[in-house]
């Protein structure tokens, strides 16, 4: 029995640790994350710089702290946009059905069938790179998956007798949609949110690799990892810190989700 939830427990610990790390990074970093130091270019880990310095002599730890914040910000905003719009669309289409549903779901399927990075690529090429453009692009991309999950849940829930009861009480449709049914999609929504967040973190990294993500000199985990690939042999620590943090973040949320099965 104890063993049963070891992965889930691990997930909880990881998520807590990472979130704590990010929160600290919002208020305090050992150095100014953008401050350059020509004398300490690509210095290895030391007491003063536990994760070493990068090609501009910037403190990797400080940058990772700040960068993780940026990545989290991107992830959260993306998920927020995707979830808000997705829930609205999914709830309406799932609950009402009909032609509106059919058309929207066809568009949805069409969008969802394209590789997400491709669509992000197109959107960012239209809007130009930048943190907010990235958030917008990824957020829009995540709408279909949320909409689909929410819609199928609403289709199930709307047949439940408690919804009929609510109707008989004279509860308005809007209230049924968002006060009565929405809380019951919680479990599914929660896992969709964590999966979405993980996808956003990974997509941020992918977009950074194609240099369409967060703009320098600002740090983000994906950008740092992408920048570090040139120094894999001479300064592996500059890849290590952001790489490990991405893996831990995604792993943490992924494991957290495991209980949902």
């Amino acid at each position: 029995m104890e063993k049963k939830n070891i992965n889930h427990r691990l997930g909880q610990i990881l998520v807590c640790a990472v979130v704590l790390f990010v929160l600290i990074g919002c208020f305090y970093t050992p150095y100014d994350p953008n401050e350059m130091n020509a004398g300490l270019v690509n210095a290895g880990p030391s007491l003063t710089h536990p994760f070493g310095t990068d090609q501009f002599g910037r403190d990797v730890l400080s940058r990772v702290m700040k960068g993780a914040g940026t990545t989290f910000f991107v992830g959260l905003c993306t998920v927020a946009i995707g979830a808000a719009a997705g829930i609205l669309l999914g709830a309406l289409t799932g609950y009402y059905g009909g032609l509106f549903d059919e058309i929207l779901m066809r568009v949805n399927d069409g969008l969802a069938s394209f590789p997400s990075i491709l669509l992000a690529l197109v959107i960012v090429s239209i809007s130009g790179p930048g943190t907010y453009q990235l958030i917008l692009a990824l957020g829009v991309l995540f709408i279909p998956s949320f909409a689909r999950v929410v819609r199928s849940e609403y289709i199930l829930q709307k047949q439940m007798d408690y919804v009929k009861n609510a109707k008989l009480m004279g509860v308005s449709d809007a209230r049924i949609l968002f006060v009565h049914i929405l809380p019951n999609t919680g479990t599914i929504l929660r896992s969709a949110l964590t999966i979405g967040f993980n996808n956003a973190v990974l997509a941020e990294a992918g977009m950074s690799y194609l240099s369409l993500g967060v703009q320098p000199p600002d740090a983000s985990l994906g950008r740092m990892l992408s920048e570090a690939q040139s120094y894999l042999f001479s300064a592996p620590w500059s890849a290590l810190a952001p790489g490990i943090l991405i893996v831990l973040t995604v792993l943490g949320f992924g494991l957290l989700n495991e209980r949902g099965e």
């Binding site: 953008n34 002599g57 930048g130 369409l212």
Partner: protein
């Protein structure tokens, strides 16, 4: 249960076998020839249609002009044996070399040369719209045949510096497959090209000159980006790779010979003179003082690179004014004073627009942004795609500041012309009547000494005006397989393969 386990195990073993089966399949390097890494795909195989410098440096091996540059920056005869400029600077007469053959075996005729020149100058009717007309050559009014081995180029107006543009490639007349199966006269013949993969060229056995190729086969392999190329270098699957970063070079030192040359670029923070506050020379000068060029070079190029003080690089040894390098020495106090004088005691903020595909410039921008913080100036960096850069910055001139490297033909006017108030490529919106006047005089004079003087004056004006924050001529780091010798740096953007040879042969 045992059976199930057995089935599962079989599946796993099978998967493992498939994965490891390839382990032995390591591909030995093809022994015939060398591999040169490039990171930009070719934009056209037709030399008159190619625009990208990365394409031109490859095609240099296949095509030749009437003249071609040598490693010292001189123009030496190629398809032409000799040439002569009329004293008034309106007529160029070329005598063609005897026995030059195209790769398809046809001899080069006067007609071919006339066709090629007219094509470059946009004089053919109907003109192929994709041919990029060299603007400087538009002064040509006609090209005529004098005899079988002599042609004459007639200009609308005098220009004594046009010879630099006669490097434009000579191609056979009425040959339709230049786009896909190019034919030229260079030391290498085109063999094959696969988009996104490679271009292969083989030795031209019938090359006329001494510059005959030594290596039978050269493959230009296109890597997706510098980082991917670096991986391939680490694995030793590339023989020559130019454009290394300092960091990469130091990691490759044990496996490769690292050669250092110069990029022959003017890397600068270009300021839009129509945008506030850069319309004020004091502000521009303040930025110049606030720029620690050596620190930039140390930071982004590991100390390799040549500080420049104006819009000219050292390879133009004749015209280059090295004194300007120290005109604005790093001086924060002075910069602050100037800013205060200009009415910005607390600094200001602006945006540096940088094309995202040039990592080098992106990194420079980051260092500069950090340096300007010292004088209270905030610089935000905006990365845009190359095509957007061309459109917004270069054409539209809608930007505040940008960092790029400007290259040039082997002609001093080419590099300075953009500062003329009416030049179409004056994306800085620089305006200075004195500059315009002196430039006019410099181009038309036939007296070499006077010309040098004029060009130095022009450089000085730019520096004094702080037209831009000139930074450096970056170092060019090339990794070369230690078994190879003969890699040669040129003052122009080329990769000369004909000079490469195997050391042990």
């Amino acid at each position: 249960m045992r059976r199930l386990t057995a089935i599962l195990m079989t599946g796993m073993i099978l998967a493992a076998a498939v994965l490891s089966g390839c382990a032995g399949g390591r591909q030995e390097e093809p022994s015939d020839g060398i591999i040169v890494g490039i990171t930009q795909d070719l934009d056209s195989l037709d030399p008159h249609k190619a625009v990208a410098a990365g394409t031109k440096e490859v095609l240099y091996n296949i095509f030749e002009g009437l003249v071609k540059p040598d490693k010292d920056g001189n123009l030496v005869p190629a398809v032409a044996e000799s040439y002569e400029i009329s004293p008034d600077g309106t007529e160029y007469t070329f005598v063609l070399r005897d026995g030059v053959k195209f790769h398809n075996g046809d001899a080069v005729t006067a007609e071919d040369v006339i066709y090629s020149l007219k094509r470059c100058a946009g004089l053919l009717t109907p003109a192929d719209p994709e041919v990029v007309v060299e603007e400087a050559l538009s002064v040509i009014s006609d090209v005529v045949k004098v005899d079988e081995s002599t042609i004459r180029v007639i200009l609308d107006e005098p220009n004594t510096e046009l010879i630099g543009y006669f490097t434009c490639s000579i191609i056979p007349e009425n040959y339709e497959e230049q786009d896909t199966n190019p034919v030229g006269t260079g030391p290498y013949c085109f063999e094959s090209y696969t988009p996104l993969t490679s271009l292969v060229m083989t030795k031209n056995e019938e090359y006329y000159g001494e510059g005959e190729a030594q290596i039978d086969r050269v493959t230009f392999r296109i890597s997706a980006n510098t980082d991917a190329a670096f991986m391939e270098l680490m694995a030793g699957s590339i023989d020559i790779f130019p454009y290394l970063t300092q960091e990469q070079a130091s990691q490759l030192e044990s496996q490769y010979t690292i050669l250092e040359g110069s990029m022959n670029l003017v890397q600068a923070l270009f300021l839009n003179h129509d945008a506030e506050p850069f319309d004020d020379p004091l502000v521009r000068q303040a930025l110049c003082y606030a720029t620690d060029r050596q620190a930039v070079i140390d930071m982004v190029a590991g100390g390799r690179g040549h500080i420049i003080g104006s819009n000219m690089f050292p390879s133009f040894s004749l015209y280059y004014d090295s004194e300007l390098e120290t005109y604005y020495d790093y001086n924060i106090e002075r910069a602050k004073e100037l800013l205060a004088e200009a009415g910005y005691p607390d600094g200001f903020s602006f945006t540096i627009t940088v094309p995202s595909n040039y990592q080098f410039h992106v990194e420079t921008a980051q260092v500069l942004a950090e340096q300007y913080r010292q004088i209270g100036v905030g610089a935000e960096i905006q990365l845009i795609e190359w095509s957007s850069w061309l459109e917004d910055v270069y054409q539209g001139r809608e930007y505040e500041a940008t960092i790029v490297g400007l290259d040039a033909q082997l002609v001093p006017s080419d590099i300075l012309k953009r500062y003329c108030s009416d030049a179409s490529n004056n994306f800085l919106n620089y305006e200075n009547e004195e500059f315009d006047r002196i430039f006019e005089a410099a181009v038309t004079t036939t007296d070499e000494e006077e010309k040098v003087l004029y060009y130095r004056q022009l450089q000085q004006i730019l520096t004094e005006d702080a037209a831009a924050v000139y930074i450096q001529d970056p170092a060019l780091l090339v990794a070369v397989n230690p078994d190879l010798g003969g890699y040669t740096f040129y003052p122009v953007y080329v990769q000369d393969m004909a000079s490469i040879y195997y050391l042990d042969e």
